[in-house]
Symmetry: C2
Subunit: 332 residues, 2 copies
């Protein structure tokens, strides 16, 4: 069983209006309410792949109940720890007349230390029988940036490999705790590369330690990924949008690239790729195959209209076209 | 006990942002979630007045659960009939930088005939021991415009007087069922005055039957109110904003006018006035007093920042200043 941890899930509400009146009363033509957040997307894609998956994390209040109801309708197995504060909502106004979307993201719930302690107890029990753990998404207020590192160490103690998809401090501290895979996207990798909490902020950053950067951001990210791997992560996978993904593994480095660029909605593509990597991690698939599946899932997710959903036909077609090669290593 | 019926309640979500980006990602500075809808406001004000009140109606899904939780926090007693569709949300984006508010009102849930039949059973049982019934707000999809008329007749059979606050067809059909009071606002009264479902639409409207109108809309509304009273309502009260209210009663007609115009949020002022009228109806208060209390509550509601809330000090001060006089009757 693959365990997916979502500490800050969301209830996504979408209103479609024709030409919104930003100073008046609107009656949306369509209303959609869906479970959201990166971990929820990863678990949904793993479910679509036929993997045995359990979603866990923190949920509270009315929006937390809506999240539970939505996942139950999707038949995604979930076991949340109840918190007293309200799960966040995201609210999207899709203005189809103007072709633009306004997104309103509520802050996450403030999690109390006793609630996190209760979650750790649940997580420890859930680790029994797990083949892999995915830790994905933002940290709610009240939890320190070291939370993922804490959970990665607990999983390691239970002999379960972890995949971490986070950003900022949580990514840097988490990578140092020794996960099997960290999977930032290019922007997260670049942001992390300029920070190093282990060093005095004013003196040293990773960019200093990695040497001067060339002007190619992908190459710079790859260099940073290599540095990040050096701090403790066994493998670093950087998703590169339509360019697929770069996997720096213990043996080799691979670049998996879809043959065809599919237009669509890139939200959730990174989560689909993370699902593919977790699936391969749990099954012990060799890296070139694992990278190919992940890149194909990312491409297929772009073709699906809703984040967290995947068209299996698209996935099979994309998989047939993915090219995997040893990555050039301009950073060495 | 006063029973307040809300067939189409709402969960009101408000996001305050500084300068909204209508084509990007916003992080609201404040998020508020509250029970909403006219019936909910009426019951909340009655509770603040110390009346014994029970709120009933139809609630479903996640938003329905949010409504229940919010009312329980407000200590408003409620007994909803569960429906399968989701209670509507309203979503307000208050742009404090631009000083404007965008409101997104979801359509109400589609109510099935068996769900309404179940509600009628509950309503019949709730009528025992009632001193008055308030029927307030819009009709959800699936329920005919004659629904309020149906409930008014059931209450009359049980010997319980009713107050109806509705608009359009539901107001016209409801008035004909013989409620003790109908309470439209000026706009609703004027809209209703141009329609008469009992007459062939293309030939006769109330405005025809009431004779030609003068150019004063308040006088025209008063004339229409008189006609509406003729169809079956014992009394018609038209709220007039800062001008207070006009009460056409079986004995006399009264104009209750606050001495002082309070600036603020007019949303919910009509509901506060309806609560005052229902309170007087249940207690059998003489009309001039009843009208004065209702006008004072309407004025105090304007001073409260949130619809459905009331400042009791404001109410007492407003009550001291309300002037009640026999209304001029330019329509006779």
């Amino acid at each position: 069983m693959i365990l997916v941890v979502s500490l800050n899930p969301a209830l996504d509400v979408t209103h479609r209006v024709d030409h919104a009146d930003w100073a008046g009363v609107n009656r949306p033509a369509e209303v959609h309410v869906r479970p959201g957040g990166k971990g929820v997307n990863v678990a949904t894609v793993l479910g679509a792949l036929g993997a045995e998956v359990l979603l866990t994390g923190l949920a509270g209040g009315t929006a937390g109940n809506g999240l539970r109801a939505g996942l139950s309708a999707r038949t995604v197995a979930a076991d949340w720890v109840e918190i007293s504060a309200e799960t966040r909502r995201t609210f999207a106004v899709v203005d189809s007349g103007r072709g633009q979307t306004a997104l309103f993201n509520e802050p996450g719930p403030r999690v109390r230390p006793d609630e996190y302690a209760r979650f750790k107890g649940t997580f420890r029990a859930q680790l029994a029988g797990c083949t892999a753990v995915v830790l994905s998404g933002s940290m709610p207020p009240g939890l320190p940036a070291s939370t993922y590192a804490d959970l990665i160490r607990m999983a390691a103690d239970a002999g379960v490999p972890t995949l971490l998809d986070a950003s900022g401090e949580a990514l840097i501290l988490g990578a140092a705790a020794g996960p099997a895979i960290v999977k930032p996207n290019l922007a997260e990798m670049q942001a992390a590369a300029t920070r190093d909490p282990a060093a005095p902020r004013e003196h040293t950053t990773w960019s200093d330690r990695a040497g001067s950067w060339c002007c190619d951001p992908a190459a710079a990210a790859a260099k940073a990924a290599d540095t990040l791997r050096g701090t403790g992560a066994a493998a670093v996978v950087v998703t590169l949008g339509s360019d697929g993904l770069l996997a720096l593994t213990p043996e080799e480095s691979w670049h998996a690239r879809p043959s065809e660029v599919i237009g669509g909605n890139p939200t959730g593509a990174g989560d689909a790729a993370a699902a593919g990597l977790a699936h391969g991690l749990a099954a012990g698939t060799p890296w070139p195959d694992r990278a190919a599946h992940a890149a194909a899932l990312g491409a297929a997710a772009v073709a699906a209209p809703i984040a967290g959903e995947i068209d299996l036909d698209h996935y099979q077609r994309a998989l047939a076209g993915v090219q995997v090669g040893a990555a050039r290593q301009p950073w060495h």
